[in-house]
């Protein structure tokens, strides 16, 4: 089934700091919900292992993440594909970072396609679950940026 994802978030700090964080595998590993492991396979390409719970089902997900069409420190396309006991999914999203006073604004928009167990059992809550997972990502990301000591320590 198809899934549309779009939204915007305010993150504290300058756009450059946000851009750096979004390109740092260590930050992403801590911020992506359920991320067990993330390793770089080539520049801007990563292998990721996740353990997730969506509605009535929980399980594992192994996938690849790639960043493309980079326009530092402004804009980037991220694509994800993978599969696991939860099912399989592919998705592409474009995100744009722009200054907004003392904060940065991150706008994202994308589409995904999901199949297997999640589509069959969790579809009724998939939209809210994806919102929840994205929300968790940004909560963690804000913490990273509000606490730069931890970021640099990593």
């Amino acid at each position: 089934m198809k899934l549309d994802i779009a939204g915007s978030e305010h993150i504290p700090g300058a756009t450059e700091a946000l851009w750096r964080a979004l390109n740092d595998p260590a930050v992403l590993r801590r911020c992506i919900p359920g991320c067990q492991n993330m390793e770089e396979t080539s520049p801007d390409a990563y292998k990721i292992e996740m353990q997730l719970k969506v509605g009535a089902v929980s399980g594992s997900f192994q996938g690849e993440i790639a960043l493309a069409d980079k326009e530092p420190p402004k804009s980037c396309t991220i694509s994800v594909s993978g599969a696991g006991s939860l099912g399989h999914g592919t998705g592409t999203a474009r995100f744009t970072v722009e200054p907004d006073g003392a904060m940065s604004r991150l706008v994202y928009q994308g589409t995904g396609e999901i199949g297997g167990l999640v589509a069959g059992v969790g579809q009724r809550i998939l939209k809210s679950a994806s919102k929840y997972l994205i929300g968790r990502f940004f909560v963690a990301l804000r913490q990273e940026l509000e606490n730069p000591i931890r970021t640099t320590a990593a």
């Binding site: 099912g87 999901i114 069959g120 059992v121």
Partner: protein, 800 residues
């Protein structure tokens, strides 16, 4: 062997259903209760894609887990077993228990993992890495019919499995001569029976005895033969244990792919193996979905509402494999005109494959969808000529004195009295009062509609649709059997030769044998030998067992009674026609031989037996299906022998804001001839109506545009519950069948065959004042409320 004259003692009496005791006490013996030593458990890896080439399967991580015994792939399995039975002549539509080379629907089993426990096997499934190459797929029924659609089986060349047009009678002339015509389309959504107990099977191979033991939750005709063929072993190496209770089926427990897979694993691993589907396995790939059908109907009629001819095209989306499902387009040919005097019919039966789960038989074998199309036609004719829907049915009904009645497609209806059943229902329900109630509901701001359905339940289950749709098939019997043994102490034991899935066959057999022998049925034991010790049986399909097992029991009991009479007559020195049999004793002129005397002679006194009689006391009978003994000629054939009748009259109220329908009144008139056990018939009818409510309002296996199945659990596949199922009032009538031993007809599909049509009719009557209608089942609450809201918007726009 005539019908019992005089009063029936046990048949039709409200006697307790003997099976109920163990079920109510929780002491049924289901397949999950079968514990075999050293048993392994199976879980399956489902396909993620609706169509994909299987590039590779890497099971090494799964096999490395402790407790994992084996991982089987489709390629390996295909080398060891033959394809599963396909009743049509489509040799290139091959079906194996696992996907071979290519997966054809989401959820299809791609690999099987065997481990010490089911939980371990499930965990190991997650470690099986399957590399797929996604292929083009087709989900939509009409797209599948399009020659440019990707074929589900490329070797077959197209998605068309069946496309056969029958013309019975002078259809074109009747259409030309009819002053009025109408056309419409209705769609029956993909639903099924969805039993609480999913399918399960346990198998054990004994290499030294060369025998395969099978315990299964099964309702499959010729099951041992199909297992033997697929496994390439002699049929007498397959022993199916029939003493397993089946926790619900109504057609779908055909589990042949599950059984062949499990049996193959048991042979390969030399250990007992069990596969019990969980709900997800069952819903998405138990291959147990029901018909999904588009009907395009043309009706020719006159100003008086008399229907003269019908053209019907039925297009069924059977899913990824043939199985028995295309035959569900064939069985309704035996009642293609419903209870009406329609002179001619053109019927085009089309079945297409798609990338959805495979279908299996579902209660009525295609009859409920067909009845929905026929009844929609009658409602539309009534509306077109401005007559009451009940009056139009009355005018078109076959009349009592016309039976036996030959319909255009070659089936003779046995008996019926439709006008009387209708009159009894109207009187019971107080039709005028019902209309007043409808008006009151409308006055309160609700939408309210009356629904009517009159339909037949063809019963007796021969298999005439097979030769009708496949000329290479020459089946003209679909027998069932009974053996009766009276032991040396005089106790009666009856054997039946199939599993039961809630139909009460033990009660049926004991009642009929008790009736003939005049022995209390409660003292009769009923047993189920395994398949190697069984007489021929075709399992409880096609609403047939009251007729077929009842007939076999009746004749076997008469043979036994005749033996007793001969033994008694010889001792009393009288001709057989001068002695009387009553309650187990034989009397003549004041002298009596008691049951014990007769049994003792049979078992111990060979010297007293009539000449030529074998010692002991045992009889058997293999019953042929009444009336159905010929192959089809010119597209015509006698389908099932008996035709039960049901007439539904219901009132539905719909909340215009939420769209939620309620059924304040549900009355059904039911005539299934002589009832053998009233409790069983009542249970069948109530359950059937509940099932029909599901099909009409709630249940559907939904696939999205990407071929993903969206309703895999009971959160999304909605079943009727106590909230949705109303109190049902049953009005009985009995028109005995002339073709059966006790006048009995079938009732295993009663209620279900007409309730979806009645509910659809009621909802359409309710919303008719808004100028909207529904032509696809299920009619879900959301669709009702959306349509009502849409109608309000268009009205507001018109007024502006």
């Amino acid at each position: 062997m005539s019908r019992p004259s005089g009063e029936l003692k046990f048949v039709s009496a409200k006697r307790r259903v003997r099976e109920d005791r163990r079920f109510v006490a929780g002491r049924g013996r289901y397949v999950a209760d079968i514990a075999l030593d050293n048993m392994l458990h199976v879980a399956v890896v489902p396909s993620r894609y609706p169509a994909a080439r299987i590039v590779s399967i890497d099971a090494s991580a799964a096999l490395a887990m402790p407790g994992v015994a084996y991982v089987l792939t489709g390629d390996r399995l295909a080398n060891a077993v033959d394809p599963l039975l396909n009743g049509l002549d489509t040799p290139n539509v091959k079906r194996y228990p696992l996907a071979v080379g290519q997966a054809r629907y989401v959820g299809e089993w791609v690999a099987a993992v065997v481990a010490d426990t089911r939980a371990l096997a499930e965990d190991a499934c997650e470690k099986v890495v399957v590399e797929y190459e996604p292929l083009p797929f087709v989900i939509d029924t009409e797209q599948a019919l399009d020659p440019s659609s990707p074929p589900v089986h490329p070797e077959h060349g197209s998605n068309v499995l069946l496309d056969k047009t029958f013309v019975w009678g002078e259809v074109e002339r009747d259409f030309a001569e009819s002053p009025r015509q109408l056309t419409f389309r209705v769609v029956w959504g993909r639903s099924s029976t969805v039993p609480i107990e999913t399918f399960g099977v346990a198998a054990k191979w004994d290499p030294w005895g060369e025998i395969l033991d099978v315990w299964a939750s099964i309702q499959m005709p010729k099951y041992p033969d199909q297992i033997a063929r697929a496994l390439r072993i002699p049929a007498n190496s397959v022993r199916v244990h029939h003493d397993v209770d089946v926790g619900g089926s109504y057609g779908v427990k055909r589990g042949i792919k599950q059984t062949v897979l499990t049996a193959h694993l048991a042979r390969t691993l030399d250990r007992p193996v069990r596969l019990i589907e969980d709900r997800l396995d069952n819903m998405r790939a138990g291959d147990a979905h029901g018909p999904e059908r588009i009907f395009d109907v043309e009706v020719a009629f006159n100003d008086e509402g008399i229907v003269r001819s019908v053209k019907m095209r039925a297009l069924d989306n059977v899913g990824a494999y043939a199985g028995r499902s295309p035959f569900q387009l064939g069985k309704p040919i035996g009642a293609i005109v419903g209870p009406y005097q329609i002179k001619s019919v053109q019927y085009r039966a089309q079945a297409v494959t798609s990338n959805k789960a495979a279908q299996e038989a579902v209660r009525g074998f295609g009859q409920a969808p067909t009845n929905y199309a026929i009844e929609t036609a009658i409602d539309k004719v009534a509306r077109a000529v401005g007559l009451d829907r009940i009056e139009v049915r009355r005018r078109n009904f076959i009349r009592k004195e016309q039976f036996p009645y030959l319909i255009p497609s070659g089936t003779q209806y046995d008996s019926g009295d439709y006008h009387t059943v209708l009159a009894k229902v109207l009187a019971h329900a107080d039709y005028d009062g019902l209309k007043r109630e409808q008006a009151e509901l409308r006055a309160r701001g609700l939408l309210a509609g009356i629904g009517i359905a009159a339909c037949l339940e063809p019963s007796g289950g021969n298999s005439s649709f097979e030769p009708l749709l496949n000329e290479k098939n020459t089946t003209t019997t679909w027998m069932d059997s009974c053996r009766i043994h009276v032991d040396a102490l005089g106790f009666v034991t009856v054997t039946i030769h199939t599993t039961s899935s809630g139909q009460g066959h033990e009660t049926l057999a004991a009642t009929v044998v008790g009736e003939v022998l005049e022995v209390d049925p409660d003292h009769i034991r009923v047993v189920r030998p395994d398949s190697l010790a069984s007489l021929p049986s075709n399992s409880p399909v096609g609403s047939r067992m009251a007729i077929m097992l009842g007939g076999a029991c009746f004749h076997a009991a008469h043979k036994l009674k005749d033996k007793l009479v001969r033994i008694g007559a010889k001792q009393l020195g009288r001709p057989e026609n001068e002695v009387a049999y009553a309650r187990g004793a034989v009397t003549a002129g004041g002298a009596t031989l008691s049951w014990t005397d007769l049994i003792t002679i049979a078992h111990r006194n060979f010297h007293l037996l009539p000449e030529g009689m074998e010692p002991g006391l045992e009889t058997m009978h293999v019953e042929q299906v009444p009336t159905g003994s010929k192959l089809p000629e010119n597209g015509r054939v006698q389908m099932y022998p008996c035709h039960s009748f049901e007439f539904h009259l219901i009132l539905i109220a719909v909340d215009p804001l939420t769209g939620k329908p309620e059924i304040p009144r549900y009355v059904i008139g039911h005539d299934c001839g002589t009832v053998i056990n009233p409790h069983i018939v009542r249970g069948m009818t109530l359950g059937g109506i509940a099932h029909g409510i599901g099909a009409a309002l709630l249940e559907e296996f939904v696939y999205d545009g990407e071929g993903q199945m969206l309703t895999q659990s009971f959160m999304d596949y909605l079943l009727p519950s106590a909230h949705e199922v109303p109190k049902v009032e049953i009005v009985h009538h009995c028109t005995p069948s002339p073709f059966t031993v006790l006048g009995q007809k079938g009732s295993g599909e009663s209620g279900y065959l007409g309730s979806p049509a009645a509910i659809s009719g009621a909802i359409n009557d309710a919303v008719a004042p808004l100028g909207i209608s529904f032509s696809k089942l299920p009619i879900r609450i959301a669709e009702i409320s959306d349509a009502i809201a849409g109608a309000a918007v268009s009205r507001a726009e018109e007024q502006r």
